[in-house]
Point group: C2
């Protein structure tokens, strides 16, 4: 258990609680304060009290607008003038395109050619200019550098950026403001921006809260990195959770190593089944990446196996789950 | 424009504002206070500012739990002892089964044999005992009377009941508590319970608010009733909006005649298209009956054609839309 991470300083990052407060003040007038929903039937299935922070209902359909708008609104006029460039499997790209439009500057988005069409269309709808790359980290980086040098645009990395992490932290901050005595928080993990921000945003308000990352078995670099203590990479993945195909950066790894209890894994089948369960029980549309955050808790005995400290009130644990996004192609559902 | 309907008294009904306050106090600890969501893209499409009261996210997946729980929790011990009987295309049945379970008494549900399977399963999951009837009002009434006489259960009609209407009124009451200066409110209309309650709940807080009912072209009895001034019937309908196949009762007709501006119609195609638009833009699951409440507003020029009084602040009108439910069979989507 880690009792304080209000300021996280390492060789890679220096993130303060004040940076999160500043981010929240900067972006709150632009974004939705998303609802925290509950479900008696999911409580019955898991034996816990679940509180779902619905970033699938956020502007652009994911939490990514929090970090992207914080980073883009923080740029100087000069930095922003030649536009923004980023790489993204989709949701960060849409968020950058949206926030760049708010700022009145162009957005150049490098995305893998196998990204869902619905995410491609969303970026185009916000006026983003797309360049496709191979679905590999190496290709993404290469094409992104090329676009950056050609345009002179400012690079806003999807997660290896303190302003991005401070923005993503505001989702957990809002969740904890609403449910102050939550025992543990669960988020999906890909590059680790949301999970890092969740550690800092949640522990800033409640130092004793436990944070768990949830990851597809087929893109398990965070699991392997935290298990081995050394940053592991993942050059490509075909998991259905298309938002979770990136791997940690040194910056996010440093934060997670100090603040995350454990990474929980979900199989492809468990992800699809969890997604359908949430659609049916909660009447909200979550994408597969969101389903990864609840899938591990739906296995029989899952909550007990977390060995959470007993609550003083003797009641079942209060668990926060961050649904990261809701961008799904309705024409090709996996069920 | 109708400026006061805080108390509605006629030969058919005597509903007071106090009855709505009592209903709200009775049911609030049991139900969700559902979120009011907004969507910049739907505002852009319609040219209005839309506020969606999401009863699709309500317990049992629809607003029906409001009226059903109010009616069932209001019964005396003696009245409730032999159980509850009702007729329902699905959502009211699930709500009655759920509220009867809260009360600890059996629920007997008469439903048309063409009701969606997901709604049948939901009623069974709450422990309701189902008897199927033909999909005609005459058959429903006949079978319902038979079950009632066989069991001695208390009849809780889905809309022809003041306690039901008082419960349904709490959805609009919550919407107006959150958005006090809404100019108009739109709800689907079937038997008229939700629309009647919306008139009373909304006008109780804001006497000048305009209320519109929205109805499938293929089940247009409310439209014909209000146009002609005489109650029209509808013996059967095959509209995809399976929650809107009932027709008004004298009680609800009396309330609507005095309080509703106009009934807006939607074709089957418009209903399906609106449903998909909401799923895609808002990431929430609404059933076709809910889509009926927004479909008429998505037609080009629709908001202007309502000829709403200009706002004092010169801004676009604030329109409340009640999404009535989210119970959809994911295995047979219409798109």
């Amino acid at each position: 258990m880690h009792l304080s991470a209000i300021t996280h300083t390492s060789a890679y990052t220096h993130l303060t609680w004040q940076a999160i407060l500043d981010a929240h003040a900067r972006i709150a007038p632009r974004i939705h304060r998303t609802p925290v929903l509950t479900s008696a039937s999911l409580d019955a299935i898991t034996g816990a009290r679940l509180f779902f922070k619905c970033e699938n209902l956020q502007k652009t359909g994911s939490f990514k607008i929090r970090g992207a708008s914080n980073a883009i609104l923080s740029l100087t006029e000069e930095e922003a003038a030649r536009g923004i460039v980023t790489q993204s499997s989709g949701n960060h790209g849409a968020a950058v395109a949206c926030a760049a439009a708010w700022r009145g500057v162009p957005a150049f988005i490098v995305m893998p050619k196998n990204a869902p069409r619905v995410k491609v269309r969303a970026i185009e709808a916000y006026g983003g200019k797309i360049t496709f790359c191979e679905p590999k980290v190496s290709s993404r980086n290469e094409i992104c550098s090329r676009v950056q040098s050609e345009t002179g645009a400012a690079l806003i990395h999807p997660f290896d950026n303190d302003q991005i992490i401070a923005g993503q932290a505001t989702a957990a901050k809002e969740l904890l403001e609403e449910i102050p005595d939550v025992d543990a928080v669960f988020t999906p993990v890909s590059g680790g921006g949301l999970l890092s921000g969740t550690c800092l945003g949640a522990k800033g308000l409640r130092p004793g809260v436990l944070v768990f990352g949830c990851e597809p078995e087929r893109a398990d670099d965070a699991y392997r990195s935290l298990s081995s203590g050394a940053l592991q990479s993942l050059d490509s993945s075909d998991t259905i959770a298309d938002g979770l195909r990136a791997s940690l950066a040194p910056r996010t790894f440093a934060i997670l190593r100090d603040n995350v209890e454990r990474i929980l894994l979900a199989s492809e089948e468990e992800i699809i089944s969890a997604m359908r369960t949430i659609w049916e029980r909660m009447k909200i549309i979550i994408e597969p990446s969101s389903a990864v955050a609840i899938a591990p808790l739906l296995k029989p005995g899952a909550v007990a196996s977390l060995a959470l400290p007993a609550r003083a009130d003797g009641a079942p644990p209060k668990l926060g789950v961050i649904f990261s996004g809701g961008n799904v192609d309705l024409s090709s559902l996996p069920f």
